[in-house]
């Protein structure tokens, strides 16, 4: 046998062996779960052995960065690839995928699971035509996190329901450029789920809306001009340098190092900024509801959940459902509380968690619930809109379209164009996208 023949033989042999190994693995009772690398999800992976012990079902995890995961699971579900038995999806995907019959309805969960215990706002956002299609693992809204010591030094007191005007004044009073303290840190980074999500909630609280009832773009309205002008002016006065590229992680880093007076962002950040091992300001953080403009009853807070859903076509739907019932149950919450304390349980999913006396001691528990309750995905704006969702419209075109619009906004934050130009560009992008999609 010649060298070449041996080499080809080896290649073919390894190929055959790989194929056989893959087939053998598929025969086990093992479910594959695609998920994100967020703290609560990582924690859940640590308890998987317990689930396997109780049920005999093996679990394989595919953990990916959020944007990679979105592309990966979307490709798989739209082509029927069948790579995953459970997918971690957000409130944006759930109703859209359910409408396309891509998800298994979760309408036959056991009585012990008590699906009625899921927070109403979460249930509404993860349902389609009244049927639940994804079980929330953890939910979040957004709220104000602020430095109580700086607020006191400024001689101010955070109201229960602050206005944007108060926030702007307080930010200016807390700003100390010499000490490297910025009065306020907010997301400016392009992306529909980054700065694009924040500015949507701010627009809601200024009485603006992205489209009218007939899906006609409204970025040329007075309310949008007011929103964006207020935002850019406030950030120029009191925001950090280069805020146009700051997202969640950048602001978290600034806040934890004591460089932000206030930060309006996801409620899950509360556990990070109050953790003394990670945060230099852990003992001086206060919380308040997201602000609104004077005279507007909509607050600038979003609603989001990371939820577990079963793709239609999986051959292990029963095992997948068993895992979902286990991981999103009250028993799981108690398991985490027992081992890691109540501050580390997945928040924002179940009503009973907020009725639990032990959880009441967690400093941000009440505000998290109040923020979630203040967000209404079915009625997010002052004037009516034809979509559901608070910081997004639950239509397939939104991610691409609003991603582009937010790039225009970020260019305005970076001083590359004016607010008027950004809104003009955004209006044109939306008009083209919505017309092309037949709205």
């Amino acid at each position: 046998m010649t060298t070449t023949q041996r080499l080809l033989g080896t290649v073919a042999g390894i190929g055959l062996a790989s194929g056989m190994a893959a087939t053998a693995m598929a025969q086990d009772t093992t479910i594959t779960i695609a998920t994100v690398n967020n703290g609560d999800m990582v924690r859940m992976q640590g308890y998987t052995d317990q689930f396997t012990e109780e049920t005999g079902i093996g679990v394989e995890w595919v953990t990916l960065e959020e944007n990679v995961l979105r592309q990966r699971v979307t490709t798989d579900i739209t082509t029927g690839g069948g790579q995953f038995d459970i997918m971690t999806i957000g409130m944006y995907e759930a109703p859209i995928w359910a409408a396309n019959d891509w998800l298994v309805p979760l309408d036959d969960l056991s009585d012990d699971y008590n699906a009625e215990d899921i927070l109403p706002a979460m249930r509404a956002g993860l349902s389609y035509n009244g049927t639940l299609y994804a079980a929330p693992f953890y939910g979040e809204s957004s709220m104000i996190m602020y430095r109580t010591d700086l607020m006191e030094e400024a001689g101010l007191e955070m109201p229960e329901e602050p206005t944007w005007q108060f926030i702007r004044e307080a930010a200016a009073a807390m700003t100390d450029r010499d000490a490297d303290i910025n009065g306020i840190c907010l997301r400016g980074k392009a992306g529909w789920g980054e700065g694009g999500a924040f500015i949507m909630t701010m627009a809601n609280s200024f009485g603006a809306r992205p489209v009218n009832e007939d899906w006609e773009p409204q970025l040329d309205s007075e309310a949008w001009a007011e929103t964006l002008t207020f935002f850019t002016e406030m950030m120029a006065e009191s925001g950090p340098a280069g805020y146009a590229t700051n997202g969640f992680n950048e602001n978290l880093s600034l806040f934890q190092q004591g460089k932000c007076g206030m930060w309006i962002d996801a409620t899950v950040a509360a556990s990070f900024v109050t953790n003394p091992e990670e945060s230099e300001v852990a003992d001086s953080v206060g919380f308040a509801l997201a602000p609104s403009a004077e005279g507007v009853d909509k607050k600038a807070n979003w609603l989001w959940a990371w939820a577990l859903a079963i793709p239609a076509g999986t051959e292990q739907a029963d095992a997948a459902k068993q895992f979902i019932e286990w991981s999103t149950s009250t028993d799981y919450i108690e398991l985490v509380a027992e081992n890691e304390g109540w501050a580390n349980v997945p928040p924002g999913a179940r009503t009973s968690l907020y009725e639990n006396e032990n959880y009441a001691d967690v400093p941000f528990a009440d505000l998290t619930l109040a923020s979630i309750d203040a967000a209404d995905p079915t009625n997010p704006t002052v004037d009516p809109v034809p979509y559901t969702g608070v910081q997004f419209a639950a239509i397939p075109e939104w991610a691409g379209m609003w991603g582009q619009v937010s790039q225009e906004f970020s260019a305005a934050y970076a001083g590359q164009q004016s607010v008027e130009e950004a809104l003009e560009q955004g209006q044109a992008i939306m008009t083209d996208a919505l017309e092309a999609a037949g709205y």
Partner: protein, 276 residues
Amino acid sequence: MARAVSSRRKAINTAVAWAIGLLIFFPILWTILTSFKTEAQAIADPPIFLGFDWTLENYRIVQERSNYMRFLWNSVIIAGFSTILGVIIAVPAAWSMAFVPSRRTKDILLWMLSTKMLPAVGVLYPIYLICIELGVLDNRVALVVIIMLINLPIIVWMLYTYFREIPGEILEAARMDGASLRNEILYVLTPMAVPGIASTVLLNFILAWNEAFWTLNLTAVNAAPLTAFIASYSSPEGLFFAKLSAASTMAIAPILILGWFSQKQLVRGLTFGAVK
């Protein structure tokens, strides 16, 4: 005097070369340093260069959470076999283009290169559907073939360039001595082109090792290589830079070591061609 000027120039050149080298290597160095910090130290502002409490905690956590060896083995298989397969196909292809060119040879070479100009995402769905149809999603063999095909134009181009520098008369002499085509390529051409083939193999092994689009999109559990291992530590909601750095260091370490030991061969092949 002339000698002193020459020495000074030499010293300056060396210093500049070191400075540029360090500048290029700095991101990797920073990643390695960050992997030994705590999460709080990793995001400290101003950044801490060396004055921190060194810890192996991140490596312990990464080791505990992930099956590193499985990812590593998949990377070795995918990068190794895609490179070998690519070279086996590219050597005869480059031979024919270098020594028996036709009127269309240059067009074919350009056409091959043009396939690299299409963004990978443009063919994601067709490739994904083909993999479903053939039942090879999350399969190492499929990735070996796909990555080999992606890198094949570069392998052919590189080998073609090296072969062109080998005098055709040597091959003619071999033919006159009665060598068959196979023997001509295997026993005459290949030994003369060893530096070129070696640098081609090394460069393509590195490219295949770092390939992140197809390896992330076509794998799940069984065939996921180290690119998927790194991606599992990136988080948009939470600061896990130290752990991400530890995972990155573990992923690049094998290729860094390989590159270190083979740098002489790599540089020689890339800078001097085949038989200069």
